[in-house]
């Protein structure tokens, strides 16, 4: 106050007070205060939240694809990308930071909604859907980080305020994180089901293609499977609608990162071994890739994307048959082999353009005729996961489960990513040591 009086007095000295206000605001962008205190601000955050999930999911898919056998790189400009194909990942590699940073930005935006919506008056059906979506997307982003890094911080919400230092978050292990994510999914269901989503939410917030009520149990099934909670995974899988295909849409104004990364300086594309590995499953490989004669930077032959061949191609939050395969795996682990086989057959006999969902891949194969043992069924389930769930990032978790990690023969070249240098530089006290070195472990490597 004294300073203001001083400023006013000094300002008035030469030529009155006119125009001498030094407290400008930024006219180019809304401030935090505007966003947190208005219904328009929160609704806009809801859109931004989905955009951020679009980016972080795409980053997770291409990063996980690089360290597994799914994707390779052409680009000569960025050696870190092709190094990652060989399991050589340094903490300053661009894609490491991209997965981490974009996922945490998704979480930040979800938290902006969750921590501030109560102070704003919103329609009941807008609030319930917005908050439900924020819980879901926050859980999804935590899941992406927990599938890439061994430990991660959960308590990361930080709003800058005068006089406060910058927060340095503490890390927890990924089991704790996934348990937390499951709790978030429960909150998501609770909030979303509070009332019918408003028309306002449908027209101003929700992107066409994204289905919240079916995605919540789908992620629940996915995370419970990672935590080996088989009865829970089974229950969640059974509550997912079989006829919904929930996707993140993209457009020429909002281009898919998977596509831009496939054409940009890094040129990340499918490795052709995926297409050539099983000619009998060509209907599914053709859904995902088209044959090409591209040679990658480390001489890996590469194909083009079919599924992600355009910047407007949507990214599925989950393929409907992932849920069936989780169900089948849960049934095997619960010793219910016959039921499991029936579920596997349901996946095998799905044909392109037909079935419960028409836009998903289908092998159009005959029912499973192999031995009815847990081992054989699991082999068949994982084989289906490979062809059904190409370029979803989920193969990395499967590699860890199958203990097929390490160079040169592993499905994945490494268990975890090193913590990004950007986090370590700013939060050195809390970032744990990297679980693996920069270099890939020798095959097979038990995951630390």
């Amino acid at each position: 106050m004294r300073q203001q009086i001083l400023a006013l007095a000094l300002c008035g000295l030469p030529f009155g007070i006119a125009g001498c206000d030094l407290d400008t605001t930024n006219p180019n962008a809304p401030t935090q205060e505007t966003i947190f205190t208005t219904p328009e601000g929160l609704i806009s955050l809801g859109v931004g939240l989905q955009a951020r999930l679009g980016t972080s999911t795409a980053n997770f898919i291409y990063g996980a694809g690089l360290v597994t056998d799914e994707l390779g790189a052409i680009g000569t400009a960025l050696s870190t990308v092709s190094d990652a194909e060989q399991g050589n990942v340094a903490p300053n590699a661009g894609f490491v930071g991209e997965i981490w940073n974009s996922s945490y930005r998704t979480i930040k935006t979800a938290n902006d909604i969750l921590f501030n919506h109560e102070a704003v008056s919103l329609r009941r059906g807008t609030r319930s859907a917005l908050v439900g979506m924020a819980y879901l997307i926050k859980a999804a982003a935590i899941g992406e980080i927990a599938q890439s890094f061994k430990e991660l911080p959960l308590d990361t919400y930080f709003v800058p305020a005068p006089g406060t230092g910058i927060k340095t978050p503490v890390f927890v292990d990924r089991q704790t994180a996934l348990t937390f994510a499951l709790a978030l999914l429960d909150s998501a269901a609770l909030a979303y089901n509070d009332t019918i989503p408003s028309a306002e939410f449908a027209s101003l917030v929700l992107a066409p293609g994204l289905n919240i009520p079916s995605t919540i149990p789908a992620y629940r099934a996915r995370f419970r499977r990672i935590l080996n909670d088989w009865p829970g995974a089974l229950a969640a899988a059974d509550s997912v609608s079989r006829t919904v295909f929930s996707v993140l849409p993209f457009s020429s104004l909002n281009r898919s990162v998977i596509f831009t990364n496939s054409t940009g300086s890094s040129g990340v594309l499918p490795v052709d071994a995926f297409r050539l590995s099983d000619p009998t499953d060509s209907l599914r490989t053709r859904y995902h890739v088209t044959a090409a004669t591209i040679v990658g930077r480390i001489q890996t032959p590469l194909d083009n994307y079919a599924r992600y061949g355009a910047d407007t191609a949507s990214i599925p939050l989950y393929y409907p048959d992932e849920i069936l395969l989780i169900k089948a795996e849960a049934l095997v682990n619960l010793g219910r082999l016959v039921e499991a086989r029936a579920v596997v057959d349901s996946v095998r006999t799905d044909c392109p353009g037909a079935g419960r969902v028409t836009a998903d891949p289908g092998p159009c194969q005959s029912p499973y005729l192999g031995p009815l043992t847990a081992t054989d069924l699991l082999t068949e389930i994982y084989r289906n996961r490979r062809y059904e769930l190409f370029a979803t990032g989920l193969r990395w978790e499967d590699a860890r489960r199958l203990q097929s990690v390490g160079a040169p023969n592993g499905i994945a070249q490494r268990c975890w990513l090193p913590y990004p240098i950007s986090e370590r530089n700013a939060n050195p006290a809390n970032v744990p040591p990297d679980p693996e070195g920069t270099e890939p472990p020798a095959f097979p490597a038990p995951c630390p």
């Binding site: 931004g48 955009a51 992107a207």
Partner: protein, 1005 residues
Amino acid sequence: MHFLFVRRFVLSALALLPPLLGAQTAGSVRGRVTDLGTGQPIASAQLRVDGTTLGTLSGQNGEYLIPAVPAGQRVIVARRIGYGEIRRGVAVAAGGTATADFAMSAAAVTLGEVVVTGTGGPTEKRAVGTSIGTVDSTAIRNAAATTIDQALQGKIAGAQIVQNSGNPGGGGISVRLRGTSSFISGSDPLYIVDGVIVDNSSASLRELGSRGNVQNRLADLNPADIERIEVIRGAAAAALYGSRANNGVVQIFTRRGTVGKPRITVQSRATTSEVPRFLGINDFPIDATGLPVASRTDLQDMIFRDGSTGEANVSVEGGSEQSRYYLNGTWTRETGVLRSTAPERRGARLNLTQQISRTLDVDVGANLVNTRNDFQINGEALGVLTSFLFNPTTYDPTAVNDIFPFAPILNPNPLVQLNRFRNPQDVNRFIGSFQARWHPLERLTTSYTLGYDGYSMEQSEFFPRGAFPVGTAATGLAANSVRNSRILNHDGVVNYLLPWRDLQFTTSGGFNYTEQRIRTTSAAATDLVPVVEVVSGGAIPSASQSIIDLKTLGFYVQEAAAWRDRLYLSAALRADASSTFAEEERWQLFPKASLSYVISEEDWFRNAVPASWLSSLRVRTAIGYAGNQPSVRNAYSRFDDYVATTFGGRSGVVNSVTLGNEQLKPERQREWELGGDFGFLNDRVSLEATYYDKLVTDLLFFRPVPTSLGYSQQFSPIGSMSNKGLELLLRTVNVDRPDVRWDMTLTYTRNRNLVEALGIPDFQSASGYPNRVRAGEPVGVFYGLYAARHCVTGDLLLDSLGRLRPSNSFISIDARRQFSGGTCNDSTSKVLGDPNPDWLGSWLNELTLRKNLRFRVLLDGSFGNDVMNLSARIRDLIGNLNSPEAERELLPYGDPRKLPAGYLFRRFPLFNEYVEDGSFVKLREVSLSYTLDQPWVRRYLAGGLEVTVSGRNLHTWTDYNGYDPEVNLFGQNAERAGATAADRGFDFATIPIPRSWSIGARFTF
């Protein structure tokens, strides 16, 4: 609003004044200043009424007028660089005009020169505790330069003035006074023209293929208008400019009219320029597979040409004792050495001085300029020269059956780019000033300045459809960006002189208010309808807009005391507030103090030391503080912002990943300097020596924030940096006879930069390039992977084929140590070189024969600076190999010059292999002028006819292998993402600075 308000204020103030005027009796003094030896008029001589702040400069004809001199016996002092001071008494009668002519003789000492920059009012140099650089119109006029800052090269000690490229229109020029003082805003000084704070940004509203390489906006000013330039280099001298003075201040004064009948001067000049050297190419008849090559093409022949420039200046000056005017019209048109580039500058200036009453006079200046520049993209990722460097010589871009073939490595086809791509920039600028000086009492002077610098800049871009094989640009691109910029400043100063016994006190106070407003709107579209070259012809549009307002308010007070013309003390305090500072840090204080002691005025000294040996001696010291505001780019860095995004056809927002800073304040510099001014041999030789020590604290840059918070960085203080150095300026009058005069000026500048401390990890300041800002090293050192050597023997560790191995050649550290014989390769990156020069020097010779023939030579050099030759590196790219060195890989086995296959490819990642010594000496300026002033000439041309032949950058002595060691990929580094003022010495597809020859004539009617 503001402008109107101020005008109203000034008008109402004027309305009140008349009753006060004429209360005193005063007359005027006029006369002519000539060279004693030659009898030629001397322009730019300073004439002052002793003991007052009244004074003026002589015009081009040597004539001057000082109005409003209080009646009585007065002493007029005439001073000029290169001449000895003369004092002459005149009796001024009320309402009368006294005459005082001066014939000046040569001397090298300039202690009496009057300066105004950073001093609070006109002050003799002897009273100032810091060194102040001055350059006059002659030095600018004879430089044959396109821009003012180009003309300053080699003329100021303590300044590193680098032309960053040979792009048309004078390239872009960086001026570093006493080293790099900041990472943000280019580290260039504050420029002031006739009291107007002017914009010197280097905006390119569309990407021109690199992170710089456009003109800086000083290019809009016409060198022919310049009367005089003053340069102050650091905080000690510039503290009165407060939070904008960290990088020094350059004040430019334009010509004022002289009394008399209208004098018309016509100057014209024709210039031809060329690329000084071409790079060698791989012209080997067979390729790597041993098969004959159909043909090899040197693209340089297709992209460069001889450039030419035509320049014309017409000026008229004259006036009466009450009103004087200077009017200039200028036109310059150039065709650049790179085909398809062509800049043009057209402008007019009017300076009016009006004596309203005996105590009030008013200056009005108006400068209108149109600068047009046809650029061509060139740089790291796209460009014509870039095409030459990236593509093998087996590539011939010539059209076959009307189809221009795509390049094998980097597109577009360079001929398509030259013929079809368009990047015009068009600037319309108005710089206006209004100055009122009122001295109601003999000892009280007040002045008020209103300055306005406004311009609109339009930049367009066009790529035709099909110029690229893939990507968004393949469908064509049209773009148009428009910027409106305006700086408005108000300055008020009051000076009061108070003599008391042997002491004289000067009290000064002032205020400054500056308002900068920048508006930028851009539109672009891809997927063009063929043949349409505007945005509306594209199917996929995009647009953006930015609004920036910056306001600064400052006040200062200064007290100076002088004792018997020998001891001078002063102290001052400036308070500054800026809209960019956080509220808690709004007001910042910058103090200074200075001491100057002219020992040679003391009788004991005069008695002890003969003037024939040491004729004058002064010691001086000063300390001061100054600041540097967050730049235009960071104008709103104190705010937490949300940015717009779209998803699924809906509009939304997300947080900006740059966290706002509620404690943002300026960078702060402390500088002290210690120096001496010496005159030897009856002032025939003068030496100015200055040692300085600068420390910048609270350096602003981006501090990493834990990315798990959803942010990545915060603009905040990150460390400190020092510059320490020595400046020498030696002037000699070697010969001074009626028909021969020979003057010499030498400058020496040594600066040591050091990043003293960093609160964040080392960082790569040029994003994506091998350099570092690192505590304990000079700023911007080259840093990266290097060729491994044995730790004991120092021999290169070659592989079985004799190729270099990288420092990280063994992934396991144990294997690497074993192979290296030690731990010297543990860290795979290290400091590889330093782009900062050890020292700079220049040597100017000026010879006048008879009175008609003048000859000048300026050598300008930089020593001990390394250059990262990335142009050479890209030629080693696999599949390219277009350098003469690549021929050595193709030689038959057994040839002693044979390099193993893959040698260059293996060298490619090893940055140490591309660091070269960039030391150079340039023959910067040569000029020979002859003045025809025989009676038969004077019958038609009153002021004679001067014919000049001049050359610029005629020769470079260097060991550097690229085109030119002076250039810098990052240009002026200003206003760009991914580049900072630390990033110097990168040569990557940068157009070399042309060698040019001019012939010019100057007619005066």
